[in-house]
């Protein structure tokens, strides 16, 4: 009951009061009704700590509740609120308005993803490619016997893949990838980085099957090493590096 009351208070609250304000340009597009998208402008007050997501939610609360946006955790963990913010793919919950150094903030749906409505995009392609590379440990002895121990790893072995395990599947890397923009069958930096995450894991025995999956005409070789995937990752994952390591396996430089 207390929780319901708290939510009611939040919804009824007055707009943020601040001396500073910013113009928020939100892309509005409904593929079912609109031929082309348009921008709607809102003047939103903000504080030093206000994030772009909070500004969008402020618009939804006080100006136009029909703005479509996907979000959940508000702490860069769930990977739901990826969007183009001032032309760059970012997480809205992880981007403060004050750090953008602009009086106008433009928010658009992520590139290379079909739009559901406004800022919400479809993730089917990302999830399909992610699933395609078998994102789990493959080994014959998955079930442990009672007298066996867990699969131990040294810190050095963990170091080989741990940064790639930070991926939150937000799709920013796929959105920034120039190959994804033209090649609708390209497996994408997210899936390739995850392929490396498991190939480099000393507990995994599925290296050959995974390398076979990515070694096809729209697989790893279509990466042009633009590096934009690594630039935009909010979790510090470096997909471009993982892709180069995977190429090393396929060219015979790594084993």
């Amino acid at each position: 009951m207390a929780q319901v009351s708290h939510i009611a208070d939040e919804q009824a609250s007055s707009p943020l009061s601040s001396s500073k304000s910013v113009t928020l340009k939100i892309s509005r597009y409904n593929p079912d009704h609109d031929d082309v998208g348009k921008f709607m402008e809102f003047t939103v007050p903000y504080e030093k700590w206000t994030t772009v997501l909070e500004a969008i939610l402020e618009v939804k609360k006080h100006f136009d509740h029909s703005v479509a946006v996907r979000y959940s955790c508000r702490q860069a963990t769930c990977g739901s609120c990826g969007m183009m913010i001032n032309g760059k793919p970012r997480l809205a919950c992880f981007t403060k308005i004050s750090e953008l150094n602009s009086n106008v903030i433009t928010v658009e749906p992520m590139n290379n993803f079909p739009v559901i409505r406004d800022l919400a995009v479809k993730f089917e392609r990302l999830f399909d490619t992610h699933q395609k590379i078998k994102p789990y440990l493959i080994r014959d002895d998955t079930e442990l016997e009672t007298d066996e121990r867990e699969f131990l790893q040294s810190p050095e072995e963990v170091e080989q893949y741990i940064q790639f395990a930070n991926c939150i599947k937000c799709g920013l890397c796929n959105s920034a990838c120039p190959t994804m923009a033209t090649d609708s069958s390209f497996v994408g930096p997210q899936a390739l980085a995850q392929a490396y995450r498991y190939v480099a894991d000393s507990r995994d025995k599925g290296k050959d099957s995974r390398l076979k999956i990515i070694d096809e005409s729209h697989g790893i070789w279509r990466c042009h090493f633009a590096g934009s995937c690594s630039q935009v990752c909010p979790k510090g994952v470096d997909p471009a590096m993982g892709i180069q390591f995977l190429r090393g396996y396929l060219l015979g430089f790594r084993s």
């Binding site: 090649d183 005409s217 279509r222 396929l250």
Partner: protein
């Protein structure tokens, strides 16, 4: 053929072509550049068998590398099973066609038929 095998050939032909084209350019510089392009000198080059063999090798390397590059560009431009098959076989046919035509020129000139 696996894509990694094709790309190994792609990188290999690029490296080999760079080395052989460098030799080819250096050979042009053994005499005056303009002089080396005179009709009689060009014919003489083709009649010198090691040099003609090197030109043939450059032709093969650049054709393989170039048409695979074109295939990759076209595959990224548009997708679809039929289109991709047409691009792959089309590039392969064009590559063999160019090698055959270039080889014909080299062999005919070498044998004094031009």
């Amino acid at each position: 053929m696996r894509e990694s095998t094709i790309m190994k050939i792609h990188y290999g032909t690029a490296l080999a072509a760079v080395a052989l084209v460098a030799v080819h350019i250096l050979m042009r510089l053994t005499q005056g550049f303009a002089e080396s392009l005179e009709y009689e000198n060009v014919l003489a080059n083709y009649k010198f068998i090691p040099y003609a063999a090197m030109l043939e090798l450059i032709l093969i390397l650049l054709s393989v590398h170039g048409f695979n590059g074109l295939r990759v560009i076209l595959l990224e431009l548009k997708q679809g099973r039929l289109y991709e098959k047409a691009v792959s076989y089309g590039c392969l046919a064009a590559m063999f066609g160019l090698i055959a035509y270039g080889s014909r020129t080299i062999i005919m000139t070498n044998m004094g038929m031009v």
